[in-house]
């Protein structure tokens, strides 16, 4: 265990991620509305020691009731449409919706039209757009830290 912890300490020292500039925080909830699982892998990776979202006050929470931001991935399938609306409806206000990845942004969608509910923009008000197929963990981290910085400036 100590070897593992030392290994991780070395990684942290080598990477030297830029320190947080704000003292605020955002609680994030993720809904997979029909992704290929790429965005989920990269969102999980954003919590690894290379990107370390938690040091910026960004945490993934288990329930939409605890969340400030809804991260939506995937082409919105007709089968996930109701669950997506339910998760959004369960969030306290003010709340933000982020389209995570090209599918959620309606770019280069693949699938049968009758299986897809439509682009996220037409379903929920989108506040944050994070493009990429999938977006890299660095891009996800930068976009979310950007929201924190904007807020600390009163934006």
């Amino acid at each position: 265990m100590f070897v593992l912890l030392n290994q991780l300490r070395r990684v942290r020292r080598d990477i030297a991620a830029s320190p947080p500039v704000t003292r605020s925080s955002l609680a994030l909830r993720h809904v997979d509305a029909g992704s290929c699982n790429g965005c989920e892998h990269e969102l999980t990776a954003a919590a690894n020691p290379f990107y370390d979202l938690s040091q910026y006050g960004l945490s993934l929470v288990a329930s939409p009731r605890h969340a400030d931001v809804l991260l939506v991935t995937g082409a919105i399938t007709t089968r996930m449409h109701p669950a997506l609306l339910a998760a959004h409806g369960a969030m306290p206000e003010p709340r933000l919706v982020a389209a995570l990845g090209n599918c959620a942004l309606g770019r280069n969608l693949l699938g049968q039209p009758d299986q897809l509910a439509g682009v996220l923009e037409q379903i929920l008000p989108v506040d944050l757009r994070i493009p990429g197929c999938p977006p890299t963990p660095a891009a996800i981290a930068a976009a979310l830290i950007g929201v924190l910085e904007q807020r600390s400036r009163g934006g």
Partner: protein
């Protein structure tokens, strides 16, 4: 070595009345069931296909079914249960004798229609999903529980169904590889290579040495980052954060290597039908080889630490057991089946890939529990590092194909994904795709996961689930 020679595809047309006899006979000959599906024929008919394989050949049993009704296979071939339920829901095929026919893809049915009834003192249901507490794909689990013990688990997937196979139909064979790739990020290379192999078989083409090497390199890079991810996830399943983060760090390194070697962290856009443009010069292969050796050493150090972490090890033994018999009966594949003692890996029967000396391995003891599945991943990581080391001993040039058996209407691709045997069947209409069917290792293993969960405590499920680490996306398609 006969298994490594190119395998002909035998297409056996049968009448609907002989469907069951032909399929059961193939199974009786020792051929392995690898999938069953339906495609829409002209007007009123539906076309059924069942895929079987032996070490020497691949057999596709095809049937034009005007009545949309055949006898079921599930009593003789339990592994066909999900396939029949899918064909029923999508195409209205009746499988006589498959009782009750529980909906699988059809979500517009009452709860009682798709769950197994449980009765008795204090039985209750715990419903989870489709949205989960973590960053997990969408799917619904319905646990039937007494106290904390799981009596039975009904899995309802297909929330992420995008209709990729149907959407791919009608497009040129070359461009439809995008649909196979999009079905799943974590199996993108496997699914694309299976699709490309299927197209090449139908076009009467076989890859040359460089094309085989290029695809094998991509497949093993895919396996390395997936297996590192899976060990990280198993550590997360018991709340062992140091192990989770150590392996997440290694996975990150592997994905950065993917980007340097092939231009994408998930190796997207690297697989083409009948060609590869990927090149690596002497310096590039040497650098990649060096990084992989470092990664292998880091994994070896971390793995040793996991062996001495009592709080982790104490949680793995005897949990989520899938016996060898059940694995075989339910058609389990990949590390899950090998951890239960089934010594089968498509890499040892892949004539169109570059695995010259590959032999499958099973975890010592092969108890079919979480511990065995964890050890299995580590053994396979070592194998993959070895294959990659051999592959990267020489530069990589662009790959092409050469003519082989002759052209055909059908083609089959078979590839071992990080989660097990994945098959792709295509039907073509000249240079265009008429239909494709992708049956992934995850699809094959979902029923086995549900079976292995029964009898365990409910709080063990996240750990059991992570030791299988199945994709939802490439089951749902």
């Amino acid at each position: 070595m006969s298994a490594r020679r190119a395998r002909p595809l035998i297409v056996t047309p049968v009448a609907a009345t002989s469907w069951r006899t032909a399929c059961v006979a193939a199974r009786g000959n020792g051929e392995r069931f690898e999938g069953l599906f339906a495609t829409a024929g002209d007007a009123e008919t539906v076309e059924l296909r069942a895929l079987f394989s032996s070490p020497a050949e691949t057999r596709l049993i095809v049937c034009e079914d005007r009545d949309r009704s055949v006898e079921t296979l599930v009593d003789a071939i339990p592994a066909a249960a999900w396939d029949e339920r899918e064909a029923h829901d999508l195409h209205g095929v009746r499988f006589v004798g498959h009782e009750p026919m529980r909906p699988l893809l059809d979500h517009n049915t009452p709860l009682a229609a798709w769950t197994v009834p449980t009765v008795g003192h204090d039985t209750h249901e715990v419903a989870v999903g489709p949205v989960h507490a973590g960053v997990i794909e969408s799917g619904h689990f319905r646990f039937h529980v007494v106290g904390e013990r799981v009596l039975h688990l009904d899995v309802r997937l297909f929330y992420k169904r995008r209709g990729l196979e149907a959407a791919a139909a009608g497009h040129p064979l070359e461009t439809s590889v995008a649909y196979a790739q999009r079905s799943c990020a974590a199996c993108a290379v496997t699914n694309s290579v299976a699709y490309a192999q299927a197209c090449e078989q139908a076009l009467g083409l076989a890859p040359d040495r460089e094309l085989s090497r290029s695809r094998t390199l991509l497949l093993e890079l895919e396996r390395v980052y997936n297996h590192l991810h899976d060990i990280s996830a198993i550590c997360a399943g018991v709340g062992f954060a140091a192990g989770t983060m150590a392996y997440a760090t290694m996975k990150e390194r592997a994905q950065r290597l993917n980007e340097r070697v092939a231009g994408h962290r998930f190796l997207f856009h690297t697989v083409r039908v009948a060609a590869s443009d990927q090149t690596l010069d002497a310096e590039a292969v040497a650098r990649a080889r060096g990084e992989l050796r470092e990664l292998r050493a880091e994994h070896a150090r971390a793995w040793r630490q996991l062996q001495f972490t009592a709080s982790l090890q104490a949680r793995l033994d005897g949990v989520g057991i899938l016996t060898r018999d059940d694995a075989s009966r339910l058609g389990a594949v990949g590390p899950v089946a090998r951890a239960a003692g089934i010594l089968r890996d498509l890499r040892s029967e892949s004539p169109h890939l570059w695995y010259p000396l590959f032999e499958p391995v099973t975890a010592p003891g092969a108890a079919g529990d979480v511990a065995s599945r964890t050890v299995q991943r580590a053994l396979e990581l070592d194998q993959s590092f070895m294959v990659l080391d051999q592959l990267l001993a020489a530069p990589l040039a662009p790959g092409r194909t050469q003519a082989t058996f002759g052209e055909a209407e059908f083609g089959v691709g078979r590839v071992e994904s990080p989660r097990g045997a994945t098959v792709c069947v295509i039907e073509r209409n000249g240079s265009r795709l008429r239909a494709m069917h992708l049956r992934t290792g995850s699809y094959a293993n979902w029923p086995a996961l549900a079976h292995a969960t029964a009898g365990n405590l409910l709080p063990e499920f996240p750990l059991i689930n992570k030791s299988f680490e199945l994709c939802y996306a490439c089951a749902d398609r």
